[in-house]
C-alpha cells in the first residue's frame, strides 16, 4: 500500500504537524514502507485469535469513587502562558 503526497499532507494536518514541502516525498516513501510491512503481517491468518487491545494480559483495575484531588489551580496556572479570572486563555476559537 502506498501513500501519495496528498495523504501525507492530510495526515500531518490532522495531527497538527508542520512539515516541509520538500520532505513530503520522503515521508510518503517511508510511511508506505511501514504500511507494506504491516501488509505482510496481514497475510497471517488470525481468524481464531482475539484482537489484542493491550500487550499486558491483565484487565483494567478500578478505583473507588472518591474525591482525592485538591485544588491546585494556582500551581498549574503558573505554567500557563495566559490566564484570567481563573480561566486558561487560548487564541480565539470561532465556530
Amino acid at each position: 500500500m502506498s501513500l501519495d503526497s496528498e495523504a501525507v499532507k492530510r495526515i500531518a494536518w490532522l495531527a497538527r504537524l508542520s512539515i516541509d514541502d520538500d520532505r513530503v516525498a520522503d515521508y510518503a516513501r517511508d510511511l508506505s514502507g511501514i504500511l507494506d510491512f504491516v501488509e505482510q503481517m496481514n497475510a497471517v491468518d488470525t481468524g481464531s485469535a482475539m484482537p489484542l487491545a493491550h500487550p499486558l494480559d491483565q484487565s483494567q483495575r478500578l478505583r473507588p469513587d472518591e474525591v482525592v484531588e485538591s485544588d491546585q489551580r494556582e500551581r498549574f496556572q503558573q505554567q500557563a502562558p495566559a490566564v484570567e479570572a481563573g480561566l486558561y486563555l487560548v487564541p480565539k476559537v470561532i465556530e
Binding site: 478505583r63 474525591v67 480565539k92 476559537v93
Partner: protein
C-alpha cells in the same frame, strides 16, 4: 411528494459519580473555574488515567435496565481531535467494543406503542467548557467539566418524527433518574443530545444524507430543531439541491439550525485503543451485584399503579414520571387508607399546582404525604366538602398545622345534620317568596339561586348532596 423523517439520537448522560471517570477530582457543578481540574484532567505529562468503579457500575445498571448485552470485555479508545477544551488532544471514549450493546425501549406516542432500538451505550469523558466572551481577543477555558463521566446512549435510526424523538428522550430521562445514575439536570448540561436527522421519499429503502444537530439541552429545543431541520432538508431537495453531511447548531433565539463545520469522517478521529487503559472486564459477579440494586422501573411501576390503584393510563403515567412523585403518591395512599383515585386527583391537582407555583420539587413539598393524607381522610368521611378542602389545603400550605386542627379552628366542619339544613332552607323560602313563586311556576333555573343562598347561609359548609336533596324535596313540595 410525501417525505419520511428518519431520526437517531445520541444522548449524553453525565453519570452522578462524586469523582471523575479517570481521576479523583470532584465533579460538583458550579465550582470556581479550574479548581476541580487536576493534573490528569489537564493532560499533564506523566499522568495515568484510572477507571472509576462507580461509573462502570452505572453503565452496567443502565444496560440491565434496557435489557441490553453487557460486554464481558470492552475497550477504551482514543478519539483524536484538537480543540482547546480537550487538553490531551484526544478524548478517551469507547469505539468498537462498548460496554453496553443492543438494548431497547418502548415509547408511546398518540396512543401507539413503538419499540426503539438502542444500538449501544459507551463510557467516555466529557470535555471542558469554552467561554467565548471577549477576553481581549482570547477564549477562556474552564476544565472543571473535563473528565466528568458520560454515558453516550446511541439509538437506532428508528424515530420517525420530532414528537417520537422527544418521547424517547423523555423516557430515557425518566429512566436514568429512576436508576439514580444521572441527575437529569438539563439546564446544567447533565443530560443533552445530538440528533441525526435525514429525510427520504416515502417508500425509499435507503436513508437520505443526514445532518447532525449538536448539543440540544431541552425537550422543546429537540422538537423545534428537528422540525426546522426537516423543513430545511425537504425544501433543499425539492429545490433541486442536496443535503450535505455536516454538523449543525440550533439557535434557539432565531429558531433555526446553521452549519458548524463539515463533519469529519469517522476515521478522521483515528480511533485506536488507549494504551494507558487495559481492557475492561465485567464478570457475572459484578452484573449480579448491580442487578440486585435495580429499582422498580417506570414501565413496571406504571403497570402496577394501573392494577393496584385502578388508575387510568394517564394518571399512572403522570404519577410515575419520577420516582420521587411515585413514592410520594404511594405514601399518601398508605397513610390515608382511602380512595386511591381521590389521592391521585389531589397529588396531580392541587398539590402539583402549589408545587409549580412555589417552584418546588415534590421532595421539598410544604405539605408532606401524612398531612395531605389527613386532609383526604376528612373528605372521604364527609367531614368537609371538596370545596372547603381546597381552602384547608391552602392554609396547610402556608402553615404546618394538620387538616384536623385547621378544620376545628376555623369551624369548617361540614353540616350533615338534616334538621339543621332543613331549618335553613325553611328560612330562605320564607325570606324569598317571589323567587319561590317563580320557581314553582316552572322557572327551574332558580334552583341554583336557592342553593347559593343556602351555601351563603352556611358559609359553604352544608353537605352539597344533602342540601340538593333536601332543597329539591322542599321546593317541589
Amino acid at each position: 411528494m410525501e417525505w419520511e423523517t428518519v431520526i437517531g439520537l445520541e444522548v449524553h448522560a453525565q453519570l452522578a459519580t462524586r469523582s471523575k471517570i479517570f481521576s479523583g477530582a470532584a465533579t460538583a457543578y458550579g465550582a470556581e473555574p479550574n479548581t476541580q481540574a487536576c493534573a490528569i484532567d489537564l493532560g499533564l505529562p506523566g499522568v495515568l488515567p484510572v477507571l472509576n468503579r462507580e461509573a462502570v457500575r452505572m453503565a452496567v445498571k443502565f444496560g440491565l435496565a434496557i435489557g441490553a448485552t453487557i460486554a464481558p470485555v470492552s475497550v477504551f479508545a482514543r478519539k483524536n481531535y484538537f480543540y482547546p477544551d480537550l487538553p490531551k488532544g484526544y478524548q478517551i471514549s469507547q469505539y468498537d467494543l462498548p460496554v453496553v450493546a443492543t438494548g431497547q425501549m418502548t415509547i408511546t406516542v398518540d396512543g401507539a406503542v413503538k419499540t426503539i432500538g438502542i444500538t449501544r451505550a459507551h463510557l467516555e469523558e466529557d470535555a471542558g467548557k469554552s467561554l467565548h466572551e471577549d477576553f481581549h481577543g482570547s477564549t477562556g477555558i474552564d476544565l472543571n467539566r473535563a473528565g466528568t463521566p458520560l454515558l453516550e446512549i446511541v439509538s437506532e435510526p428508528d424515530l420517525r418524527s420530532a414528537k417520537e424523538a422527544v418521547a424517547y428522550m423523555k423516557k430515557l430521562h425518566a429512566l436514568v433518574r429512576y436508576l439514580e445514575i444521572c441527575d437529569g439536570n438539563m439546564q446544567e448540561g447533565s443530560f443533552r443530545c445530538d440528533a441525526n436527522v435525514s429525510v427520504r421519499r416515502k417508500g425509499d429503502s435507503r436513508f437520505g444524507t443526514r445532518a447532525e444537530i449538536k448539543n440540544l439541552n431541552s425537550f422543546r429545543f429537540v422538537e423545534r430543531a428537528i422540525n426546522f431541520e426537516v423543513e430545511r432538508q425537504i425544501e433543499l431537495i425539492e429545490g433541486g439541491g442536496a443535503v450535505v453531511q455536516e454538523t449543525r447548531l440550533y439557535d434557539s433565539v432565531k429558531d433555526e439550525t446553521r452549519s458548524m463545520r463539515s463533519k469529519e469522517e469517522a476515521n478522521d478521529y483515528r480511533y485506536f485503543p488507549d494504551p494507558d487503559l487495559l481492557p475492561l472486564e465485567i464478570g457475572a459477579a459484578l452484573i449480579g451485584e448491580v442487578r440486585a440494586t435495580l429499582p422498580e422501573l417506570p414501565d413496571a411501576k406504571q403497570q402496577r399503579f394501573r392494577s393496584d390503584y385502578a388508575l387510568s393510563d394517564y394518571d399512572a403515567e403522570v404519577l410515575t414520571a419520577t420516582r420521587e412523585l411515585a413514592d410520594f403518591y404511594e405514601a399518601v395512599v398508605r397513610s390515608a387508607g382511602c380512595d386511591a383515585k381521590l389521592c391521585a386527583n389531589w397529588v396531580m391537582g392541587d398539590l402539583s399546582a402549589a408545587l409549580n407555583e412555589a417552584n418546588l420539587e415534590i421532595t421539598a413539598s410544604r405539605v408532606d404525604a401524612d398531612r395531605l393524607a389527613g386532609l383526604l381522610q376528612r373528605i372521604a368521611d364527609d367531614t368537609i366538602s371538596g370545596k372547603l378542602a381546597k381552602q384547608v389545603f391552602e392554609t396547610m400550605w402556608q402553615e404546618g398545622a394538620t387538616a384536623d386542627a385547621i378544620i376545628e379552628r376555623e369551624g369548617l366542619r361540614q353540616i350533615t345534620d338534616s334538621s339543621a339544613i332543613e331549618a335553613i332552607i325553611d328560612r330562605i323560602m320564607a325570606d324569598n317568596p317571589g323567587q319561590l313563586a317563580q320557581y314553582r311556576a316552572g322557572k327551574d333555573k332558580l334552583f341554583g339561586f336557592f342553593v347559593g343562598q343556602a351555601m351563603k347561609a352556611t358559609q359553604g359548609k352544608a353537605n352539597p348532596q344533602q342540601l340538593n336533596e333536601l332543597l329539591k324535596r322542599k321546593l317541589d313540595a
